[in-house]
Each structure stands twice: as C-alpha cells, then as structure tokens.
Amino acid sequence: MTAQDQIPAPSGASPATDEVLRAEHISKRFGAVTALQDVNVRLQRGEVLGLIGDNGAGKSTLMKIFCGFQRPDSGRLLVNGAEVVLKSVTHARSLGIDVVYQDLALVNQLTVYHNMFLNREIVRWPLLSNRSMRRIAKEHLDEMGVNIPSVNVPVASLSGGQRQAIAVARAVFADARILLLDEPLAAMGAKEVAMILDLIHDLKRRGDISIIIIAHNYGQVLEICDRVNLLQHGEITLDKRSRDTSVQELNDIVVAEYRRALEERQRSA
C-alpha cells in the first residue's frame, strides 16, 4: 500500500479535466474468491498505463469491468470526470472505451476491410458498399502506418502482429478514446513486437488516445508505458511512473510476494 500513498490524491471533489478514466474502490468477488479488492486506477488523457501482475492477480477482471463486460460489486467508475455505470460492452464503447483481445478480435475468414467495418458496415441498401469500405479501410490503415499486403485478403493469411495491429486500428477507427489492450505482445516474434510497439508509440504521439496495456513482460511494459500499476491478489501494490522503477524492482516485489506466500503456506501446513 505504501507505493500507492506516494501518489498525491486529487484535490477537492472535481477531478482534473484531463483524467479520462478513474476507478475508485473497485471490489469484485466470485463466490469465495476475491478477484479485486479496493482497487483505484487513474488514467490521464494520452497516457499509456501498464497493468502488470501474475496470472490470477485480477488483471483480466479489472479489464472486464472497464470494458463493461462485468460490473463491480462495489466502487465507482468515472469516465471523463462523470460517474458511469457501464451496462454492457456496447455501452462502454459508446463512451469511447474499447477493448482489444488478442485472439478473439477478428473473424479470420473475412477480409481485412470487412473486419475493420464489422458491425459498422457501409450499406447502400440492400447491398454492402464494399468499394467504399475497401478504400476507407486502406486509407485508415495507411494513415496509422499499419503495413499489410492488401485489405482484400482474409485476416487468416496475416501474421499475429498484423492481426493485432488491425484490431487496434479498428478500435481507433471506431472512435475509441480509451483503449484496453489485453496481452498485445504475447506469443509474438521480435519483429512483430516492434511493429505493435511502434503502433502504440504513434497513438501516443496523437495525444488524444489513452491506453491501458495488460502484459507479462516487464521490460516491454516499461519501454512503452508512462506509468505502471502492479496488481497482486486483487490489490494494486505499486503505482509508479516507468522512469521511477525498473524491471529489477518489479521482479523483486513479485518474487518477494511469492516467497512470502509460500512460507505462509508451509507454516500452516
């Protein structure tokens, strides 16, 4: 808890206007399991926040709460300073919050441009305007610097990194202002990782998109994120700017926690 105390509390009742997302005292239980306990998260406009922690620490649950897929048992969410109760993924999306899952984002059998426009198709009734969609998708991907052979190919023929880039581009294209990226770099080659990191750097430069990244690799997180939050057993145990911490420190905290838990278990056994 001490690390969190270092962050100055927001002054007064009105949060800073450039705070796009704020979670206060979020708790979530699944039966006997406490997934999240009194979690506080802030996200500034244009900021990239890394959310790290071991499996089962509650990262995914927190993401699901942010994207409207699950509701917290207690606590509140503020989007652009206004309190909201996210009713659904669609509702969250209408507020500009969009989540990109690595594996389930795209339909492999459909072309790149159909994926870009999935559920937002341009239709000249009763038929799809494939030509316009193709053109706009290409323009948008070029603008974002996403490099793929053609927007006409099925997504199945692209690499994991290209697919991830398209999923991110689609969310931005759909006017997402808060992007939640779930393990965007997992199971990727070095070239692919560089490609996604470049894409996130570009988005950061735009300044109007805020990003929360879930990741395992601390090095990559520190490279790309402005700030990191460490989740352990449903609690945020560290909240620091990337430049104020190191892979070593993060590792030490997680390993120390693991040792302590192990000792406790052995003592009680």
């Binding site: 993924v89 669609t90 999306r93 989540v99 899952y101 389930l104 984002a105 795209l106 339909v107 492999n108 059998q109 459909l110 159909h114 999935l118 559920n119 198709e121 239709v123 009763p126 038929l127 799809l128 494939n130 793929i148 052979p149 053609s150 006409n152 190919v153 023929s157």
Partner: protein, 357 residues
C-alpha cells in the same frame, strides 16, 4: 508501388516481404495470378467436376440424357429439391449449425396446407402460405432449442425431426392423401407436370440461389453469418446479435424445406407421409460440402452448393440412364461422393499451402 508487389507475392503464395518479388516477369505473373485466382475460388473444383460429369453423360448417352424429359427429371425433380434445401444448410453450416429436421419439415408442411383446405376451407393460395409458414415456425422452434436453450443443433433437430414425422403420420393416419387437380391454379406456381409449369422448381432454384448468393456475399446478414461461424466470441464482442442470425437461418431453412415439400405435393398430386425424410436433407448437406462449405463453419458458398446439387442429380440420373441396376448403384454413388469430397479437401489443403490448384 510496394503494395502492388506485396499483393502479387500474396497471389503467388510467397511471404510478403518488400523486395522479394522484384524483377519478376509481369505478363507471366499475371497469367499465374489469373490461374491462381481461379484455383482459389472454392467453387472451382466442383465446377470442373460438374462440367466433366455433364459432358461424360451428355456424350455417352446423348439421345436419352439430352432429351427434354430427362432435363426435367434431372433439373426440376432431382436437382431442385437438393439445391433449395442446400441453400438453407449452407447458411446454417456457415454460422456453425445444421438442420437434420428439414426433410421432415418437407414431410409435414404439405399436411398443414392440405387440412387447412379440406377441413377449414382456407383458400388454396392462403393454405399454401400457411404451409410455408409452418416451415418457418418449425425453424423458429429449432432456433429456440438450439440458441435459447443451448442444445447442439445436430441433436436438437434430430429430435424435432422425429416430432414432425410423428405429426405427419398421426394427421395422415400413415396414408397418402390425394391432391385434387382443382388446386392446380395455385399448384402450378410450385410445380405441376407438363409445360411450362414443370419447370417451376428450376426457376425457384435459380432465383433463390442468386438471391442467397448475394445475401451471403454482399449483405450484412451474410457477413454476420460468416462471423458467427468463424469467430463466435469475436462476433459477439463486435456487438453482433449472433442469436438472431442463427434463428434467422433456421427459419430460412424451415421455409425452404416447406417449399420443397409443397412443390413435391403438387407435382405428384399426393401429400405423402413417406415423402421427404433424411434423404433430401443428407443430399443437401452433401451438396453443400461438395460445393466447398466447411462442416466446421465460417466459410461456404451458395453457388458451390448449387453445383454440388447438379453433381448429385447428374450422378443419380446418369447412372439410371446408364442402366446400372439399383443394387450396386449405392456403392458407385457412395464412391463418387467420397472421391468428390477427397478431391475437395485435398485441393483446399493445396490452396492453403499456396500451391494453387
């Protein structure tokens, strides 16, 4: 510029990387690209098979195979029911479902029409519409059990199929009932013997194939059907109402099953509880798969299923004309289906590894 090079590489199946394709022969590449584009069409294999079969029987048995009587047999009687039901099965298979009951919708729907006319004095056109709506309702029930109650459609529709067969047997007391010729003023729009109305099923088929080819490839409904079967969670994530798509495709299939049943009732002047059943359903599924529809969902084509229906009808009709006796026919027919399927699977595998055709 580099974009053009990259897409050419893609056609040739090479990994897309900047300058790898530089210095190639432009015209040669276009030719290979063109052949590749044909080979990559899922319908290509089945089109070749269809043309080959038609040519074989057309040349070997031209006097009987190319007669008008045989054309009606082949296209309107044999092919049309398979193709029409296959349209529904293609849509269902693509979105990850199947309808085993459709052959019994075929059986039952004409009885609703029949008794609406004889017992409730409903005008014939309206009764025919009631029969079609029976199919839609049966499709809704299939959707309800599958989508809402969560029973896999393979089992759910076996169950509803038995129920429909039982209903048909109960209401008919297991006896065929005669359709009077006075109903022909409505019946001719479905199918009755003699020119020109005996061609009606073929016209229905072609129109429905064209419509649903467009629906599948050029409308939201088609995209969502592919999405539901290709990536169910992803489709839901994108906010697509996947349940609605599945319900709709079950109802479509029910409608098509009822349509084929009513056509058969008018054409044979009989409402027969032994009509329909598993055979037309299995033929339709086989036609769909021969035509390139994936059993596991996510991809398929209506045109391919249409060609698949022609293949099955040509085999049945052609072997009949060739005078192969009924007993070994099943062996040959089964063998032909297996060869078509194996060719399809292997060619698809070749396509996916990049060596087109």
């Amino acid at each position: 510029m580099s974009d053009a090079v990259d897409s050419a590489d893609k056609v040739l199946g090479r990994p897309a990387s900047g300058g790898a394709g530089r210095g190639g022969n432009g015209a040669g590449r276009t030719l290979v690209g063109g052949l590749g584009a044909f080979g990559r069409q899922r319908e290509a294999t089945v089109l070749v098979v269809t043309v080959a079969l038609l040519a074989y029987f057309g040349i070997s048995y031209h006097s009987s195979f190319l007669s008008q009587v045989n054309a009606v047999d082949l296209l309107a009687e044999l092919m049309a029911p398979i193709a029409i039901i296959a349209i529904g099965e293609v849509m269902l298979l693509i979105c990850g479902e199947i309808d085993i009951s459709v052959g019994f919708i075929y059986t039952f729907a004409p009885f609703v029409m029949y008794f609406a006319i004889t017992d409730y004095h409903v005008p014939v056109p309206l009764a025919a519409l009631l029969g079609l709506l029976t199919g839609v309702a049966a499709g809704w029930v299939n959707g309800f059990i599958t989508v809402t109650l969560g029973v896999p459609s393979f089992i759910a529709t076996i169950g509803t199929g038995f129920v429909l067969l039982g209903l048909a047997l109960v209401v008919s007391r297991a006896e065929p009932l005669p359709v009077p010729s006075s109903w022909d003023s409505t019946g001719k729009w479905f199918a009755i013997p003699g020119n020109p109305w005996q061609w009606a099923p073929l016209v229905w088929t072609v129109v429905l194939v064209l419509i649903f080819h467009l629906v599948l490839t050029r409308t939201r409904w088609g995209l969502y059907t592919i999405s539901a079967g290709g990536n169910l969670l992803g489709a839901r994530e994108a906010g697509i109402n996947v349940g609605r798509i599945k319900y709709g495709n079950f109802m479509l299939t029910g409608f098509l099953g009822a349509l084929v049943g009513i056509q058969a009732a008018f054409y044979t002047s009989t409402v027969d509880p032994s009509a329909g059943g598993y055979t037309p359903m299995f033929y339709a599924v086989i036609a769909a798969v021969i035509g390139g529809t994936a059993m596991l969902g996510g991809s398929g084509t209506i045109i391919g299923a249409f060609l698949g229906a022609i293949v099955l009808a040509t085999l049945t009709d052609g072997f009949d004309i060739a005078g192969i006796s009924a007993n070994p026919l099943s062996i040959i027919f089964g063998g032909a289906i297996l060869i078509a399927m194996i060719a399809n699977v292997q060619l698809t595998r070749l396509r996916q590894t990049g060596r087109t055709l």
